[in-house]
């Protein structure tokens, strides 16, 4: 790859991204901007069942709760009420299903899954092409589901406080780079180069 391959814009962008990553790493433990510490514990517990920690990191390690917290004071302000009312609703559901358990974060993983199952109305929304309108109902669970997935997978170089240290991308196998060269994957690594189609093409119209 020749030096001319890379435009003048690119190094600047890479350096900005690197700077953002380092800033994110070196920062003192971030403060919450919307949630109280108690609320944050509950939100993190919910997110950790949506993308659980297994043999690979989950929503907890990706700092998804910080992403949601930042969202609620920036681009996701419209959802403040949904979260503010959703949390007591969650609490009520915990008491209803598991009397004696004080809060969601105190329940066992199995109980937590049962509680979330009861809140998941399985709307068909959320599937579709980018830009296609989503019919996802604005329920608390659907919102936190989408927010958790978004916070797990957002570009770690963004200002959204999600995907801490790029762990979400590691989990799905996306290299945290923005410049690649072929071969890209398993099936193109031994590609012999373009060979013309057989010449007997008689333009058969099906």
């Amino acid at each position: 790859m020749s030096a001319a391959w890379v435009s003048t814009h690119w190094p600047a962008m890479l350096s900005a991204a690197t700077h953002a990553r380092q800033a994110a790493k070196s920062a003192v433990p971030p403060k919450f901007e919307f949630f109280s510490p108690e609320q944050a514990v509950e939100i993190e517990a919910v997110s950790a069942r949506i993308i659980p920690t297994t043999d690979t990191p989950g929503a907890r390690e990706a700092g998804v709760v910080f992403f949601i917290d930042r969202a609620l004071v920036t681009f996701g302000k419209a959802n403040q009420k949904l979260y503010a009312e959703g949390l007591p609703g969650l609490q009520a559901r915990v008491h209803e299903m598991f009397p004696g358990t004080e809060k969601f974060s105190a329940a066992t993983s199995e109980q937590q899954d049962d509680i979330l199952e009861s809140l998941d109305e399985r709307h068909a929304g959320g599937r579709g092409r980018p830009f296609r309108p989503s019919s996802a109902a604005q329920t608390f669970f659907e919102t936190i589901r989408v927010d958790t997935i978004s916070g797990f997978l957002i570009d770690p170089a963004s200002d959204k406080r999600g995907n801490r240290d790029g762990v979400g991308w590691k989990v799905i196998g996306r290299d945290d780079a923005h410049m690649f060269q072929p071969p890209f994957g398993y099936y193109d690594k031994d590609y012999p180069g373009w060979q013309p189609n057989p010449t007997d093409a008689d333009k058969t119209k099906s």
């Binding site: 435009s7 959320g126 092409r129 072929p182 189609n197 099906s206």
Partner: protein, 554 residues
């Protein structure tokens, strides 16, 4: 760096005011200013540049950094004219300098001869308003070549036996093949089809001031940080600015074209960034605002002389909307493809471009491509197998396995022109500036749905032949969302059934020209931008010839 631009006074009568700076507007600005004319381009969106193009999916996709905003410019949708339209996001387009060409996939197929002469070749189609173009492929061929060389298109001439004739090879080789492309190529050949390297408006080799593609993987929906995507922003707009005669005026939302007592256009009225009303005077007006906003602007410009909307004596403004039909089949393979790296499409095929209606039982045709145009969040929320759990360990396991192993087969096809399918003004809903909102009326022609179902079956055959371990294809549904905005001010010889002539001049107003997706008479097989740009180069020649003859002066 933006070159120095002239600053024209709004009271100064410039030669041309061009409304819209996208695929067509950018090229017309470049050509007309290059031919010595004073040009003002009014663009409703902001002037963003490479430094603004980030990979933050929330900012770019969810918050419409580059696109029309559903809260500022809401719209309504209905299937048929007897229904009351409901508020619903029905369309997306690029709303910034460069327009939709900034964020598109960059598939750059030429139309074939059949697209221009389908009506004569096969005759009328039930409930469709079929028509031939007043120009042919041969008329447009030199301009297709001009697009490839001036704007920058990568491809392999002669690789598809179905390609129409061309006067010159591509200016640069195709982009590298992706794993999904290799699987597509092998499987298609096994089936006796003729895959070939996708022609893409993305640089495989650097050009002055622009990098070759660095394969970042944030392509469809995103602006290119290195100028490799051949958007109008990275190409024609920059060239127009270099002439020293073209002013690009962003944040200028045109809502009326004014005419004098003789029925000649005198300029454009717009809201500036502070929502103050401004009037730019011009000798001639060229509207390149896209297949939705161009007819809307004509309808908004109705007056006593033109009670049904400007240049609408035919009543055809806004009608014959075509979106291109489409279907998707998705496959998951044993080993990582890593198709998230790079541009979206590396292999396509055109074996089904011309289908025999007698044999298949419907009109139309299409093409297939192998693509991965997904980014991490959009993949996780939208493109996992339908039986995937929505959350929890099961969800995480499928997502982790599939992200690197997925490829999609996209089917692109014709939309037949139907008069009722249209953009019009909503009688109730207003945008944030108080203007009537766009109302979309659309119901796919039955043949479009049959075509999609037929192509979807071919896509599934292909994935099967490629050895996919899992595959699925959602059932074909009627469309309610528009990306390709075509046919709404169609070109034609007859002023009673078309809006513009083959010079892109409106039949009714001699110094008013329209050039964008709205000019198309047929939809092509799925990738219209190349044709829109070729038309723009040709329109610039035609308009210049008329101007030289003095036909545009009062």
């Amino acid at each position: 760096m933006k070159p120095e631009q002239p600053k024209y006074k709004t009271s100064e009568e410039v030669d041309f005011v061009i409304i819209g700076s996208g695929a067509a507007g950018g090229i017309l600005a470049k050509e007309l200013s290059g031919n010595g004319y004073r040009v003002v381009v009014l663009e409703q969106g902001p002037y963003l540049t490479e430094k603004d193009f980030v990979h933050d999916e929330i900012k770019v996709l969810n918050q419409d950094l580059l696109t029309n905003h559903p809260e500022l410019q809401p719209n309504t949708f209905r299937k048929t004219p007897d229904e009351k339209a409901k508020p619903q996001r029905a369309l997306v387009y690029g709303r910034l300098v460069g327009g939709t060409s900034v964020h598109f996939t960059a598939n750059f197929w030429r139309f074939h001869e059949i697209d221009f002469t389908e009506h004569t070749r096969f005759g009328p189609a039930a409930s469709a308003a079929m028509a031939d173009w007043p120009i042919t492929y041969a008329d447009l061929e030199p301009y297709y070549t001009k697009v490839e060389w001036e704007i920058g298109v990568s491809g392999q001439a002669g690789a598809s036996p179905f390609d129409p004739p061309r006067s010159k090879p591509y200016p640069m080789p195709p982009l590298p093949v992706k794993s999904g492309g290799v699987l597509f190529e092998r499987a298609a050949r096994k089936l006796g089809w003729h895959p070939f390297p996708a022609p893409m408006a993305i640089l495989s080799q650097p050009r002055p001031g622009r990098s070759a593609c660095v394969n970042c993987g944030f392509c469809l929906g995103f602006g290119c940080e290195v100028g490799a995507k051949s958007s109008s922003l990275a190409t024609a707009i920059r060239m127009a600015e270099k002439t020293g005669r073209c002013e690009i005026r962003p944040n200028s939302y045109v809502h009326r074209i004014e005419v004098d007592a003789n029925g000649r256009a005198t300029g454009a009225v717009y809201f500036d960034e502070k929502r103050n009303v401004q009037r730019q005077k011009a000798k001639a007006v060229v509207v390149c605002a896209n297949g939705a906003e161009t007819p809307r602007l004509l309808l908004l410009s109705a007056n006593k002389q033109f009670p049904n909307g400007l240049a609408n004596s035919s009543g055809m403004v806004g009608k014959h909307l075509m979106l291109n039909s489409g279907a998707i089949a998705t496959g998951v393979f044993e080993h990582p493809l890593n198709d998230y790296k790079g541009f979206a499409v590396s292999r396509i095929l055109h074996d089904f471009y011309e289908l025999d209606p007698e044999k298949v039982g419907f009109r139309g045709g299409g093409g297939l491509d192998a693509r991965f145009d997904l980014t991490p969040i959009s993949m996780a929320l939208g493109s996992l197998p339908p039986d995937t759990p929505r959350w929890g360990k099961g969800f995480k396991d499928v997502l982790s396995h599939n992200f690197t192993r997925t490829v999609e087969i996209f089917c692109h096809g014709t939309s037949l022109p139907v008069e009722n399918n249209s953009f019009s003004l909503d009688p109730d809903l207003k945008d944030a500036w108080g203007l009537p909102a766009l109302r979309m009326t659309y119901k796919d022609h039955p043949d479009d749905l049959k075509l999609c179902t037929w192509l979807s079956a071919r896509a599934t055959e292909l994935l099967d032949a490629a050895g996919a371990q899992k595959m699925w294809a959602p059932p074909v549904q009627e469309q309610q969302f528009a990306v390709h905005l075509l046919g709404t001010c169609r070109m034609g010889k007859d002023p009673k059934s078309s809006v513009i002539n083959s010079d892109h001049q409106t039949h009714d107003v001699k110094n008013l020209f329209l050039c964008d997706g709205s000019s198309l008479v047929t939809s092509g097989r799925g990738q219209p931008t190349m044709t829109i740009e070729a038309l723009a180069f040709r329109a610039a020649d035609r308009i210049t010839a008329l101007a030289k003859r003095g036909d545009l002066s009062a």
